[in-house]
């Protein structure tokens, strides 16, 4: 009896502060945002709450009729579908290269590849704007050697999003690479030794040992990459402000604009919850796939 009481005390003592903080800084804001998403809370309402109306589901119905929302949604999916797998593949490739015994000075390479991850995005964006510049840019300069006509990377509606994808992948792959390297180091080396004795080629070893052993790591990486990429914001915000022709407008950017630029808090909250729902679905799907793969 006494021990449960003590346990309870300890529980309150240890968990209390964290629970309080989570309640104040997470639970209350989320619930109030949810409530706000059913109102037309805006700049008029900030000054006087009487100016806010409870409008039920109108924000949500309006959202589904809003062409900009669909554009933003399409752009975000385009980004996730293109940049996600690309980012994971590049990370895996880089990790494999760094993990071979032939590479000298691994530390230097690892540092170099990881550098973009820790560099401020603003600095990266400035450099990449020069790389993408239609007249003076490095990329067009290089392409000129192959007789490719100059492309206005960030100004062309077709190329703007791929340009953002390229930059994001370059900036982020180092992070996943580190996790992949850790995953690779966890594969017991006797598996490879046994395979070598059996006479398996490098490719056979890769297919039969490396890839299957990396499945948990890969799933984890693709999950966090997906969640992160769905929240695409800073890259287009700095590089293109959503243009040209709204081709790089992302959901989070649209939400930010509506909320903090135009103070349509109600509408903006509705966008946030739709995004939450999409990411939630995506995560559930990935978890289901993970479970299935584990069982086979």
């Amino acid at each position: 009896m006494n021990s449960t009481k003590n346990n309870l005390k300890a529980l309150v003592f240890f968990l209390g502060p964290a629970m309080l903080a989570i309640f104040v800084f997470f639970f209350i804001p989320v619930v109030s945002a949810f409530v706000i998403s059913f109102t037309d809370f805006d700049i008029y309402s900030l000054g006087n709450f009487a100016n806010a109306r409870f409008i039920g589901l109108r924000n949500y119905t309006q959202l589904f009729e809003d062409p900009l929302f669909w554009i933003a949604l399409r752009n975000t999916f385009f980004f996730v579908i293109l940049a996600g797998p690309l980012s994971v593949t590049v990370s895996l490739f880089a990790a494999l290269l760094l993990n071979t015994k032939l590479v000298k000075f691994k530390g230097i390479f690892r540092l170099t590849y990881f550098m973009p991850v820790v560099t401020t995005l603003i600095a990266v964006a400035i450099v990449w704007r020069f790389i993408y510049h239609p007249r003076f840019g490095l990329l067009n300069y290089l392409l000129a050697f192959f007789h490719v006509n100059p492309v206005d990377w960030l100004g062309d509606p077709f190329w703007a999003m791929p340009a953002i994808v390229l930059m994001s992948v370059w900036k982020n792959f180092g992070y996943n690479m580190i996790i992949f390297i850790a995953g690779l180091n966890n594969i017991p080396s006797d598996l490879y030794e046994a395979a070598t004795i059996e006479g398996a080629s490098w490719w056979q070893q890769f297919k039969a040992i490396t890839l299957p052993m990396l499945i948990p790591t890969t799933l984890f990486i693709s999950l966090i990459t997906m969640i992160g990429y769905f929240q695409l914001f800073a890259e287009p915000y700095i590089m293109t402000q959503g243009g040209p022709l709204n081709k790089t407008l992302s959901i989070v950017q649209y939400m930010y604009q509506e909320g903090f630029r135009w103070w349509n808090m109600g509408y903006s909250s509705a966008i946030a919850f739709v995004l939450f729902f999409i990411i939630f679905l995506g995560s559930v799907m990935q978890t289901l796939i993970q479970k299935k793969l584990k069982h086979t």
Partner: protein, 455 residues
């Protein structure tokens, strides 16, 4: 405030944050994390308790960007003239200014005096954040309506009540390459729309294909609105509660500008022009409708042979109407928080910043053009050849519709449809129809409020 500024600082790291949260194994981290949260909470609470203790003779003043950086230098003289008074200047970056000011108001922490872009005055008055200054002006010896440019003063007047005092002013005029225009036969800059078009055509004929006579970027709404106003368009109707961009007048002006882009007289994509001054120096662009903030930049870039090759001129107008054509009344105003407990002192500071002498000093510090007409008598302004066009233009400036939604209408919608039209995704007719639909949606709340107030 703390909470907000840290959130702003973190914004570019959105993506990364999620990753780090995940990867640092939850269990080991959460204890450290909760401790941090807790410390933050205590810190936050103690911060908010401290706030009210500032002395009764200190007023707080928030200014944006360069003003925030340099206005400090004007403070010592004020403090010398008013012994015992102190002014605490807080600099706020322009990009975060609106967000910070609104949040400060929401948490009842507004500064006593602050700078507001004059298009923001309607928003903050709608919020109920700023003081009606009529009574103060009536008593004042320094601040009188007739001392200011009419169009500029008017931006601060809502329903006949004054909410801000113009601090510095700006407007849009024409920057141009004298030599290039002269080669096209224009020794004086174009005075009508027809001349502007003709001049552009002639310049284009003399230039290689990748160079352009004029720059009308679709991510700057001002020229579209200015030309609309020159064509006598009423931008909004029914007490500013419906869009009126489909009007014959606005469509005429809009088409005129879009055609400049479509006929390759102006570049299509803004990303081609990373540095407008360099482009000017290289004759890539030869005319640009912009504001006084560019004068110094032009001086900096157009050096040596180029130093006397550029000039400013008031805006052209439709033919048969008086020159110069109308332009926008821009600039910043000084406003007083309605919640301030030191209004007397706050007003004193506003008066100080509005004296001609201090206005000239501000011009010398950061080249902000004085709002007070007397200050323009100073030689440094009067004798500047580039400023003459501005002085002339200020005689004919008007305010944009004074409603809180205006910024959203032009920044998010007008610019978007200008781009759609310029790129040929939509015809001007389609674009303006969609524009009005969007604007009507934005103004729905305003209509509701007007109707409720009428009851």
């Amino acid at each position: 405030m703390k909470n907000l500024s840290s959130r702003i600082a973190n914004r570019p790291r959105f993506v990364k944050q999620i990753n780090t949260d995940f990867i640092n194994l939850w269990r080991s981290v959460s204890s450290v994390k909760s401790a941090c949260y807790f410390l933050f909470l205590i810190f936050f609470l103690s911060l908010s308790c401290n706030k009210k203790n500032s002395s009764q003779t200190e007023i707080s003043f928030w200014a944006m960007g360069a003003e925030g950086e340099f206005v400090q230098k004007l403070v010592p003289e004020f403090e010398r003239q008013n012994p015992g008074l102190k002014v605490k200047v807080q600099m706020v970056p322009w990009t975060a200014a609106q967000e910070k000011l609104v949040t400060a108001f929401a948490s009842d922490n507004s500064p006593d005096v602050y700078q507001l872009g004059n298009t923001w005055v309607p928003q903050f008055s709608a919020l109920g954040a700023i003081e009606n200054l009529d009574a103060w002006i009536q008593k004042s010896l320094t601040i009188k309506r007739e001392k200011y440019f009419e169009g500029i003063w008017d931006t601060n007047v809502l329903d006949g009540k004054v909410y801000g005092i113009p601090w510095y002013v700006d407007t849009r005029i024409l920057f141009y390459r004298k030599d290039v225009l002269a080669k096209a036969g224009y020794n004086v800059p174009p005075k009508t729309w027809e001349e502007l078009y003709d001049c552009s055509k002639k310049i284009k004929a003399k230039l290689p294909a990748e160079k352009y006579p004029i720059y009308i970027p679709t991510n700057e709404w001002a020229p579209f609105v200015i030309f609309g106003l020159q064509a006598n368009a009423k931008l909004l109707k029914n007490n500013n509660s419906y869009g009126n961009f489909q009007s014959k007048e606005f469509q005429y002006a809009f088409t005129y500008l879009i055609n400049l882009i479509k006929q390759d007289l102006a570049p299509l994509s803004a990303s081609q022009v990373t540095n407008i001054y360099q482009a000017f120096a290289g004759e890539y662009l030869n005319m640009y409708i912009s504001g006084p903030w560019n004068i110094n930049e032009f001086k900096k870039w157009m050096t040596g042979d180029l130093a006397d090759k550029w000039m400013t001129a008031p805006l052209p107008n439709m033919s048969g109407v008086k020159y110069p054509g109308v332009s926008l009344a821009g600039g910043s105003s000084l406003v007083m928080s309605g919640h301030s407990k030191k209004k007397e002192l706050a007003w004193k500071f506003i008066e100080y910043l509005s004296t001609p002498k201090v206005q000239v000093e501000l011009y010398h510090l950061i080249n902000d053009l004085p709002a007070v007409k007397d200050a323009w008598e100073d030689a440094s302004l009067k004798d500047d050849i580039y400023l003459k066009a501005f002085y002339d233009q200020f005689q004919n400036v008007v305010a944009t519709p004074k409603i809180p939604e205006w910024e959203q209408i032009v920044f998010s919608k007008l610019q978007q449809y200008a781009e759609y039209s310029a790129r040929g995704v939509m015809t001007v007719d389609e674009a303006m129809k969609a524009m009005d639909q969007d604007v009507n949606k934005i103004l729905e709340k305003r209509r509701w409020m007007l109707e409720r107030n009428n009851k």
